[in-house]
């Protein structure tokens, strides 16, 4: 029997994920065919809807912002060997932090508020992640189940608060008061306008810049700091980490709290940037998209950026799609999302044995030729 050669990096992080993504897209195309529509036309509409005009770009990048945050959140926990399914709830509670800060500290000037709102989001999101993290680290209950439970608890809690506490008097809709105008995150088109560049208006706001900066910071954190190293060690092998003098429980809690804080930044985009008030279910499933984004991006900030852009495109293009082709609703995007998680996440090893075989055969033949 020939010994299998280890796959080179470009196949491992490049070819295989692309192959899996391709498979997800092929299955999606077959679904479109089954519904009786033309997949090529669907792709054209998707691409035009996402990038075809200036405003579309803004919307695509606005969705991308959310997905970068939730993708990074999943990735940081994943590096520690944890499945944080709770981004949805953490972002929701983070939104509460942002809203409370903006409503009750509205006397603060904008530059200070920028920092305060970010801290408020972080504290609330991290606190919501702390309980499942503590239970995993100290009491041995599985973080997957507890974060799912915490999503539902967050949802009930927020409905209660919105209906009974935050709703302004006399209002029937369960949403908070508007946050003061001078505290809102500026839209990119306004910033550009102030600089004399004309841009179509879109919900894209300053938080996109945050997302980029934070991506770089997370890259530095995970690969160039002690804590990042410790988190990866615990994730790779908790027993080995213990022998190396690291306490796994401590880093489980740290990773989860960072993850919760990252999820909650999504609230900055939604609450401070776009909606300007706290809405019921403003997280709209973006937390779950983060799972797909992180898996596709191989838990690396750069990969996450690309995957977030892809999903941003799908979300914005999908909205266009449902206008153009009535038989295809934007649920198509949810289907694609599910397929991407299935093929790039759950079935990521599907092509690996075959790829290893082909690569090994190719190497052997090349080595044999060189020997001659």
């Amino acid at each position: 029997m020939s010994k299998a050669v280890e796959l080179p990096r470009w196949i491992d992080v490049g070819v295989l994920p692309l192959l899996n993504l391709l498979l997800a897209l092929v299955v999606s195309a077959l679904l479109v065919l089954a519904i009786g529509e033309n997949p090529v036309e669907v792709v054209e509409i998707l691409l035009f809807g996402a990038f075809g005009y200036e405003e579309a770009w803004g919307y695509t990048l606005y969705y991308t912002t959310n997905f970068i945050f939730t993708g990074l959140a999943f990735a940081v926990a994943f590096h520690c060997g944890l499945f944080n399914i709770g981004a949805e709830g953490q972002a929701y509670v983070g939104g509460l932090g942002v809203t409370l800060a903006a409503l009750y500290l509205d006397f603060l000037p904008f530059p200070i508020m920028l920092v305060v709102s970010m801290l408020a989001a972080m504290i609330f999101g991290a606190a919501w992640a702390y309980i499942p993290a503590y239970l995993q680290a100290r009491r041995g209950s599985h973080v997957v189940i507890t974060t799912i439970m915490f999503n539902f608890i967050a949802s009930s809690l927020m409905v209660y608060l919105l209906v009974n506490v935050l709703r302004p008097q006399g209002s029937m809709t369960p949403e908070s008061e508007q946050i003061a105008e001078h505290l809102r995150l500026p839209f990119i088109h306004d910033i550009a306008g102030a600089l004399g560049i004309e841009m179509a208006s879109s919900p894209l706001n300053l938080s996109f810049v945050y997302a980029i900066v934070i991506s770089v910071m997370i890259w530095l954190f995970i690969w160039h700091t002690r804590w990042g190293y410790a988190i990866r060690t615990v994730g790779a092998n908790a027993v080995a980490a213990t022998y190396a003098g690291l306490e796994p429980g401590r880093f489980i809690i740290i990773a989860m709290m960072i993850s919760g804080a990252l999820s909650s930044f999504m609230a900055l985009n939604e609450v401070m940037g776009v909606q300007h008030r706290l809405l019921i279910d403003f997280t709209a499933g973006y937390g779950f998209v983060g799972i797909a984004v992180a898996l596709m991006g191989r838990n690396h900030p750069f990969g996450i950026f690309l995957a977030a852009l892809l999903f941003g495109m799908l979300y914005q293009g999908g909205a266009e799609l449902s206008f153009e082709i009535p038989t295809i609703s934007n649920d198509m995007v949810v289907v694609i999302q599910g397929l991407v998680i299935l093929f790039t996440g759950a079935m990521e090893h599907m092509f690996r044995p075959r790829a290893t075989k082909i690569y090994t055969a190719w190497r052997l033949r090349r080595d044999a030729q060189e020997a001659v």
Binding site: M149, F288, S329, G345, A346
Partner: protein, 323 residues
């Protein structure tokens, strides 16, 4: 007397709300006792509910709808198995993928087939499971205490409710009194030992997820063709996750899981009735708290504050045969 009637009505509603939970919780139990995490209950339930309603609408028989639902969920179980058992993929990720996939797919196909915004057309009487009246239920109605219990509480449910309650002792028997059950449990605790005994781990786990598929298919069909009269977009509304919680709360065992389902079903039934009710001394009941209770209780249990819930030892780990 009025209170008694109220209690009977509440318990009656509890039976109806806990039925889908019981079936799904048992489904989860079969899968997880064999070592495969089943987070996909929510998505499978949704897929089952859709197939049942769509097929029952075309064929006009709830039974054919039920079969379609079971076929769908077995298919999804096999997909889950293909990812987790054959390709040793991550079980949590596969489960989430199926949940998200089905949430989109049922709506997408629903709109493509029926063009009613993701709903299926309303089913007529013949295409739904109808209440079964026990013999003599009408004449016993006026007997004090026992009358209402017999004719209100026990009689007058559809067949799937009775199947769900019978499925619990049946599942217990299969799990603890048959060779199949012994092997199934063993494969979830110590697959290596089972393999050494000459029993295929992979085949065993596939059989377990198929059992899981049959049960969760019934719970899906219950939602759309027995309790409801059509499929509605995302109609499971977290019931799959509550069933999962109930299974954990029942410590992966049939009868405790039944108790948990009844408790969670009762909370659900009570929550709808407590809307806006002011209790003396407490004030208005926060309905959201009642709704969140199943999740809160499960977390407290998992934290080890009410007994200890110990999952099957090999849960979540694909079996790698030693060479």
């Amino acid at each position: 007397m009025e209170n008694f009637e109220l209690i009977i009505l509440l318990l009656d509603a509890t039976l109806r709300t806990s039925t889908p939970l019981i079936l799904a919780a048992l489904a989860g139990m079969f899968s997880e006792r064999s070592g495969t995490i089943n987070l996909a209950l929510e998505g499978m339930m949704l897929g089952g509910a859709f197939s049942a309603a769509a097929v029952a609408f075309y064929v006009g028989s709830p039974w054919v709808g039920l079969l379609a639902a079971i076929a769908t969920t077995i298919g999804l179980s096999l997909l889950h198995g293909f990812a987790c058992i054959t390709h040793k993929g991550n079980q949590v990720v596969s489960g989430m993928a199926i949940n998200i996939l089905m949430s989109g797919l049922t709506a997408l196909v629903g709109i493509a087939l029926f063009a009613q915004g993701g709903k299926t057309p309303a089913l007529d009487k013949a295409s739904r499971f109808q209440p079964i009246t026990f013999p003599g239920a009408e004449s016993f109605r006026d007997v004090p205490v026992l009358g209402p219990i017999y004719s209100e509480l026990l009689s007058g449910h559809n067949i799937l409710v009775y199947i769900a309650f019978l499925a619990v002792p049946a599942a217990w028997w299969v799990m603890y009194r048959t060779r199949f059950g012994l092997r199934l449990r063993a494969v979830g605790e110590n697959p290596g030992a089972v393999d050494t005994a000459g029993i295929g781990v992979v085949a065993m786990r596939y059989r377990a997820v198929i059992c899981s598929g049959v049960l969760v298919g019934m719970s899906g069909a219950y939602l759309s063709t027995a309790q409801g009269a059509s499929f509605l977009q995302d109609m499971t509304a977290g019931k799959g996750y509550i069933a999962l919680a109930a299974m954990v709360f029942g410590k992966w065992r049939p009868f405790p899981a039944l108790a948990a389902c009844l408790l969670f079903g009762f909370l659900d039934a009570a929550a709808t009735r407590l809307q806006g009710v002011v209790l003396p001394g407490i004030g208005e009941v926060p309905v959201q708290l009642v709704q969140a209770l199943p999740y809160i209780l499960t977390v407290i249990l998992l934290a080890g504050f009410i007994g200890r819930a110990i999952p099957p030892k090999a849960l979540g780990r694909a079996y790698v045969k030693e060479r």
